[in-house]
Symmetry: C2
C-alpha cells in the first residue's frame, strides 16, 4: 500500500492510497479519512460507496464528511467505483465499464477479468485497511446513487460484516430500472435469476435487516424514475422493517444534497458503531 497524498483536515488526516489488487488485477486507488481520535487507537469505520462516473475523489472533496467524522471519531473510506487503466474493459457510455462497476462480480466477457468490485470492497480492501491503518473491525456502510445500491446490497447480504446501514438516493431496484438492467445484463448475462442478489429491494424482501435503515432521497431528484425509491419503501413498510425513507423536498441528485445530510448520516452510523464496539 502506497500513500499518494495526505492533507491535514479537521485535525485528522485525509489520505489517498494505491495498492495492487489481486481481486481486480490492477492497481486500485482509495481515499481514507482518519479522525484525530485515531491517534489514540483504532476507530470504527464508515464505508462510503460512490455513484456513476465518480472516482475515490468526489465524495472526499465534495461531501463534507470529514467534519462530522472528526466530531464523532470514526474513519471513512472512499473506494473507487471500478477498476481502471489500460487493459481494463470499458464502454463509451458513462454508465457501463470504468466508473460504473455497480459493486458486482462480473461473470461475462469482457468484464470478468477485472470487474469484481463486490469482492474487492467486501474482502480485499477491508483486509488491507484493517492490516495497515488504525481501523477497528467495526464497519458501517453508506453510499450515493449506484453507491447507495452498493451499500445496501453489500450489507443486506453480509449482516455479519456491517453494523449500520444508510444510503443517499440509492438505485433501489436495479432489476427494474435502466440503471441496472443494462449493467446487470452486461456483467452477469441475460439470466435474470443471477441479478436478484444485486437488487436492494429484492434482498430486503428476502432477508430484512437487523437494525433500522436510513434512506434520504431528494424529492426533486432528476433521476427518481431510475432510482425507484418506491420499491424499497414498499418493502420496508410491508416487512415492518425498522427504518425510514425520507423524501427531502426540493433536493436534487447532486453533492449539495449529499452534503446537506452528511452530518445526520455520520451521526447515525457513529451511534451504532460506537455502541457495537463497547
Amino acid at each position: 500500500m502506497e500513500v499518494v497524498s495526505q492533507n491535514r483536515c479537521f485535525d485528522g488526516v485525509q489520505m489517498v492510497c494505491t495498492h495492487p489488487s489481486q481481486v481486480c488485477g490492477v492497481d486500485m486507488t482509495f481515499g481514507i479519512y482518519l479522525p484525530p481520535q485515531a491517534e489514540d487507537g483504532p476507530v470504527p469505520v464508515l464505508w462510503y460507496l460512490s455513484g456513476l462516473t465518480c472516482t475515490h475523489e468526489n465524495a472526499m472533496i465534495k461531501g463534507g464528511f470529514q467534519q462530522h467524522a472528526a466530531e464523532h471519531g470514526i474513519a471513512m473510506i472512499f473506494p473507487d467505483t471500478s477498476p481502471r487503466g489500460e487493459g481494463v474493459a470499458d464502454d463509451d457510455a458513462y454508465d457501463l465499464g470504468q466508473g460504473a462497476g455497480f459493486y458486482v462480480n462480473a461473470t461475462r466477457a469482457p468484464w470478468t477479468a477485472h470487474y469484481r468490485m463486490y469482492d474487492y470492497v467486501l474482502d480485499e480492501l477491508r483486509g488491507l485497511v484493517l492490516d495497515n491503518l488504525p481501523i477497528a473491525d467495526v464497519h458501517g456502510v453508506t453510499g450515493h446513487s449506484m453507491g447507495g445500491h452498493g451499500a445496501l446490497t453489500l450489507a443486506l447480504r453480509n449482516p455479519d460484516r456491517f453494523d449500520s446501514l444508510s444510503a443517499f438516493a440509492p438505485i433501489a431496484n436495479p432489476t427494474r430500472s435502466d440503471w441496472g438492467r443494462k449493467q446487470l445484463s452486461a456483467y452477469l448475462g441475460d439470466d435474470e435469476s443471477a441479478w436478484a442478489c444485486y437488487d436492494a429491494s429484492l434482498l430486503l424482501e428476502e432477508h430484512g435487516w437487523k437494525d433500522a435503515i436510513l434512506i434520504d432521497q431528494g424529492a426533486g431528484d432528476q433521476f427518481l424514475d431510475l432510482l425507484r425509491p418506491e420499491a424499497l419503501a414498499t418493502v420496508l413498510a410491508r416487512r415492518r422493517q425498522a427504518g425510514l425513507v425520507r423524501m427531502q423536498p426540493g433536493y436534487d441528485h447532486s453533492y449539495y444534497f449529499v452534503a446537506s445530510f452528511a452530518g445526520e448520516h455520520v451521526g447515525w452510523h457513529a451511534e451504532r458503531l460506537h455502541r457495537r464496539r463497547n
Copy 2:
C-alpha cells in the same frame, strides 16, 4: 442576470449566475449561496474571493461554507478570479491572466481592456446582487491565497464598504513576493509606487483596520515563502492592530485546510455582520 443553475443545499439554495459585465467587458459568472433565512427577507453577505487557477466553483464545491452560512443566516458570494473567454488576454503561466486577476484594475496592455477585478467586485457585482437578490447592504469579506490578498486589500482600502474581514493563507505582501511582483509588474507597469495600494501589509501599516482581523495560515503550507504571513504579522503587532494570525500546525494550502476553518470564519463574520445590522 441569468440563473445558470440552482441546487437546494442545507435548506437554502446554491445558485450560479452569469451577467454581462460593463467593467470587465465580458460575461462574468459567480456563485451565490442564499441561506434559508433569506426567504424571510434580506440577509447580510460574506464575500469569498478565490485563489490562483480557481473559478467561482472551487470554494462553493470544496469549501463546505454552506452549512455554516445556513446556520448563521448569512449569504455567501463566490466571484470568479478573472475575466475569461475569447478575446480576453491570457498567458501560458498559471499565475498570470485568466484565473489570476489578482483583484487589481490593470493599467497596462494587453490587460487593461478586461482585467478590472477590483472595480468589478467592489462596485459592479455588489450593485448587481443588491439589486437582484435578498441581500442586505451589510458586507464581510474573506478569501484564500490570492483571494485572501483580494479580501484584505479591498477591505483595507474601503472600510466604509465592509464590516468584517478575515483571510485564509493570504498573499500577504505581494510587492515582496514572486506571487505579486510578476503580476503587479504586468498589470500595473514597472513603477512600484503604483503597487502599494495592492499590498495588504503596506495598506495595514498605513490605514489600520477598524475592527479585529482574523487570519488562518497552515504552518505546513508549501507556499509559505510566497505568502509571507510574517510581514502581515509584524505590522499587526507593531501597530497594535486588533486581530490574530493563527499558524495552524500541520495544515497545508489546500481546501482541506480552508474547509477545516470555514466554520470559524463564517461565525466570526456573522457575529459582526448581524451586530452591524441591528
